[in-house]
């Protein structure tokens, strides 16, 4: 393979150089932080942590200041297998991209002199994937994690109670959100994104996963209304019954408001002026069926409840992030509701579970030895004797344990069947001719490839799987004319893989978003001899870290210990090296360690770290709740994890 372009998938191309003033902004913010810091009680580390990230979210993105300038907007992908749309056989040829659009596709493509050429020999290209529903690139609103107090919890203001259908995802889009990079890395070029929130979080927007601000990214805004069964805290509507009542009330109020508005508009004489209510007003497009309601309904009961509301009120529904539809297929088919499947699936039973169980038994047995020595102190002889007895006993017990426990077997079989039911749901929908797309509300981008493969193993056809990623969401979102297939004149959203996408070892090499190429970083694999037998990196030790944030306290210590197959991380900030946050049972994936923890002080913030280790150093990111994602790096001080 020959590659002439050199763009990292992690960095957007700074088309407009809008960050000239970044340094100045940074300086102002730093001063602010320092001023606040002098006022704040520094002993409360958690608060400083939060404040720090609050301010950081105003900061510019400093990671791509050294990007090379854009040379050309014309690209030719040469000699690739083109899968123009689901169900068509791959054809060999080239794709010419110009001005963000697909200019030519086929065998005879004229190559402009000023085009960058990407030789795609033996590679595969697909239309860029479309995510039918997610929060990609959407920041959480500031108030979401608070628990506001209201005087009269039966009648809280709508916005406090999570009734905000007037909000627009557009207003919360940040091009710096890590989720954009993550989704793009999995082949997505377009996302249909909705705000975070509660019962009525707001309206959706269709965005490109590239751009320097919401304006640049947005294809359409206020395309849909999003709803989920998530109640208000300590106020109406709190429980599912409150939420259902509020839904009916909002919808019917909007219907009446519409009537009232129109009769007032026709002839206002003798009619009281309709009072304005932004939430109710925002639902009139739903009443008019100009907007579909994307209703998050993952579990079986949520599906039936959303459908009950739809049946009762008559709006257009898209059942979203569906996980458990097996028993609702008939009614879904009858209702003609659109459906988005969640890409997340329950974990498969681990094969080495028996091994683990034995280990557990060992642990509990050793607890008893401890117990027995606790009482009166035993002589060394006695201890030996006890140990021997114990060994003999545990041998016996192990023999016993090998006997099958019919109850446990039965329960295990049921769980296995339950997992299978979730995994085969996509295939079942296909069998019933119910079209569907995928949503990513409750799932991670990286779950896509392995999970879609599990669905295919459970009977889903590759054609339908690809349609669910391309043509189906395009149709649902009303963007079929610009996206979903590789066709002349459409947006140049393209995924390029080294093997057919649905193969296990298939890797994405390039993702084009409106003609801008993003190349996937190939992670260096360490030689096995240096690392653990399983190919995972050796990461145990004492490390120092630095976060890419303009703070005096941006450094600290990370201690990493290995316990059996998992790792334990202890982390402390330099401002208080006595206060270690401890996280256990972390799994190392190759050289990648991901873990999270909560910082609590009045409010709780989740901090997630995603670190890639390379010998004596690591690089990665830290995501601090709603405040954004920042780079961090570190190096090893010693191989003993002690402070």
């Amino acid at each position: 393979m020959q590659v002439t372009g050199n763009y990292s998938i992690g960095s957007t191309i700074d088309k407009h150089q809008i960050f000239k003033n970044r340094r100045i902004i940074a300086n102002i913010s730093l001063n602010w932080i320092l001023r606040i810091f002098t006022i704040m009680n520094r002993t409360i580390r958690a608060i400083s942590f939060i404040a720090l990230f609050c301010f950081l979210s105003f900061m510019g993105n400093s990671q791509n200041s050294d990007e090379p300038a854009v040379i050309t907007a014309k690209f030719v992908i040469q000699n690739v297998h083109i899968i123009a749309k689901p169900g068509t056989p791959a054809s060999f040829g080239s794709v010419l991209i110009e001005d963000g659009m697909i200019k030519q596709v086929g065998r005879a493509v004229t190559i402009p002199f000023d085009a960058e050429i990407i030789d795609g020999d033996s590679m595969y290209v697909y239309a860029g994937f479309i995510d039918a529903l997610s929060h990609t690139g959407v920041k959480k609103s500031d108030t979401d994690d608070d628990r506001p107090k209201v005087k009269n919890p039966g009648y809280p203001p709508n916005d406090v109670a999570g009734i905000t259908p007037e909000l627009s995802a557009f207003d919360f889009i940040s091009h710096k959100e890590k989720s954009i990079k993550d989704m793009r890395g999995q082949g997505f070029g377009i996302s249909h994104v909705v705000p975070h929130g509660r019962l009525f979080p707001g309206q959706g927007a269709i965005i490109l996963l590239d751009g320097n601000n919401a304006d640049e990214m947005t294809i359409k805004k206020n395309t849909s209304t999003y709803s989920q069964f998530k109640g208000a805290r300590g106020m109406y509507p709190q429980t599912i019954i409150g939420q259902m009542a509020k839904w009916r009330e909002m919808y019917r109020s909007a219907s009446y408001a519409k009537k009232h508005n129109s009769s007032f508009a026709t002839n206002p004489v003798g009619i009281k002026r309709p009072s304005y209510d932004k939430a109710i007003e925002a639902l009139i497009p739903v009443v008019d069926k100009k907007q579909k309601v994307y209703f998050k309904a993952s579990k079986a009961m949520e599906i039936s409840r959303a459908m009950a509301l739809q049946k009762d009120l008559g709006f257009s529904i898209v059942l979203s992030d569906v996980k458990q539809a097996t028993h609702a297929i008939k009614s879904i088919k009858a209702s003609k509701a659109d459906i988005l499947l969640s890409i997340s699936l329950p974990k498969e039973e681990k094969k080495d579970e028996d091994k683990k169980k034995e280990e557990k038994d060992k642990v509990s047995d050793s607890k008893v030895i401890e117990g027995s020595t606790i009482g009166a102190p035993l002589s060394a002889k006695e201890v030996e004797k006890k140990k021997k007895e114990h060994k003999a006993k545990s041998k016996k017990e192990k023999k016993k344990k090998k006997k099958k426990d019919p109850e446990k077997e039965r329960l295990e079989a049921r769980k296995k069947a339950a997992v299978a039911e979730y995994v085969s749901q996509a295939a079942m929908l296909e069998k019933n001719n119910i079209p569907f797309s995928f949503s990513f509300i409750d799932s991670k981008a990286k779950d896509l490839h392995p999970n879609i493969r599990r669905m295919i193993a459970a009977g889903l056809s590759e054609k339908t799987a690809l349609a669910a990623l391309t043509t189906e969401p395009a149709k649902l979102l009303g963007i079929s004319n610009i996206a979903g297939t590789i066709e002349k004149g459409k947006l140049a959203n393209i995924v390029m893989t080294d093997k057919p996408y649905f193969e296990e070892k298939s890797k994405i090499n390039y993702v084009f978003v409106e003609g801008t190429p993003f190349k996937t970083e190939v992670k260096k694999k360490k030689k096995k001899s240096e690392d653990g037998a399983d190919g995972s990196a050796d990461i145990v030790g004492k490390w120092t870290y630095e976060m890419n944030i303009p703070m005096p306290d941006n450094t600290g210590v990370i201690l990493i210990e290995k316990t059996d197959d998992t790792y334990k991380v202890s982390i402390a900030s330099v401002d208080d090296l006595t206060d270690f946050e401890e996280i256990e049972d972390i799994e190392l994936d190759g050289n990648n360690l991901v873990f999270d923890f909560d910082v609590t002080d009045g409010m709780t913030m989740n901090v997630e770290m995603d670190l890639n280790f390379d010998g004596e150093s690591f690089e990665g990111t830290v995501t601090a709740g709603q405040f954004g994602t920042f780079d961090m790096s570190g190096s090893r001080e010693s191989k003993t994890p002690k402070f």
């Binding site: 607890k367 117990g371 606790i374 009482g375 329960l411």
Partner: protein, 441 residues
Amino acid sequence: MKYLYINIIVLAGLLLGCTSSIHSQITKKASYGNFIIKNATIVTVTKGTFEGSVTIQDGIISGVSKSGSKDKTVMEGGATIIDAKGMYVYPGMIDGGTHIGLGEIGAVSLTQDYNELGDFIPHMQALTAVNPSSVNIPVNRIAGVTTALACPDGGLFPGTAALIHLHGYTPEQMFAGFKAPILNFPASGKRGRWDRRSEEDVKKDEEKANKKLNDIWTKAKQYTKIDSLATAKNKKKAGFNPQMDALMPVIRNEMPLLIVVNKDSDIKAAIKWVETQNVKAIFMGVAEGWRVAEEIAKAEIPVIVGPVLDNPRRASDPYEINYANPGILAKAGVQVAIRTNETENVRNLPYNAGFAATYGMGIDEALKAITINPAQIFGLGDKLGSIEKGKIANLIICTGDPFETKTDVKHVFINGWNIPMESRQTLLYDEFLDRSPGMNK
């Protein structure tokens, strides 16, 4: 703040005043003396069932004789004769675990005396707080429950339980001769449907509790050792340590430890702990005992199971498993008593036993589980739990099988006292069945 506090005190005073002003729950007095119960079917529990008579003298069953036997019932100083033709005599029922006498009104915390502050308080004595005038007592005893274990509850070692007779005017009069500290064995299950702790948190809490338990036990052993040495050397023992004093009889195996444990894996852990620490134990609750019945039988630990009228603990469990639990344990060879774990409705003890009987335990075994078995488990097998000469005169006379709701209990004897068959609930019935005035003033 201070005023609020005073207000609360005043309120509490009012409430308690309220209670005590109506503390006479009965209009008649119990009577004592010599009694002859004639022509009854006597279900002795230990010596078969037959027609005959029972005599009561000085609070003791002075004689049990079959009809037609040559033993002549002679009572010096005369006796009250009860002709129980067509009726049955049973031993008074014993509830192996309750809060009776320790709690008056569920939601009024100042009337709840079974849950003291602290996690390690084995020295808290249930008997101290038993209220002989509790309205609960007459209500429940006239259903035939004559004796109940009054249990503290709460933390790891919530206190020392006491067996009481449901009649008497002082705790001492009521005391039935058995006391033992309670251990709430560290639980690895969720405490209820509202328990939102993650599995990890549950495990952590359990481990913490286990560690605490073992720490306490180590200290208790050392303390006992020091105490023994002090006694042997005739020296003074150090310091005031009522918690450890309360555990000493258990360490010395002079007293059993009541271990509340329900979940299968917890029961197994408790068995191991008991074996390791060489403790004389009685298990209480034992809801998932059915899954580990053989292990309990092998360990020869008696159990006080219940409530029987209870839901299974897991969604995947058979619907009837709690009804069947006592029977499964008994069949495995475990000595089984039944408890209600109730405060105001200890009177449902026969129905808990009845359901156990129906779902596999059989009537005879179920009857034992609320009479002779608890008596033996509490070390009072020679004093309570059956109709035998020389035993304490705790017995009931009823119209039929006491497990059946149609059966009426006609007489209750506790410690030889003939108890008036009334309570606030029967008095209210008498007053309101045909209220006067009715609708008109």
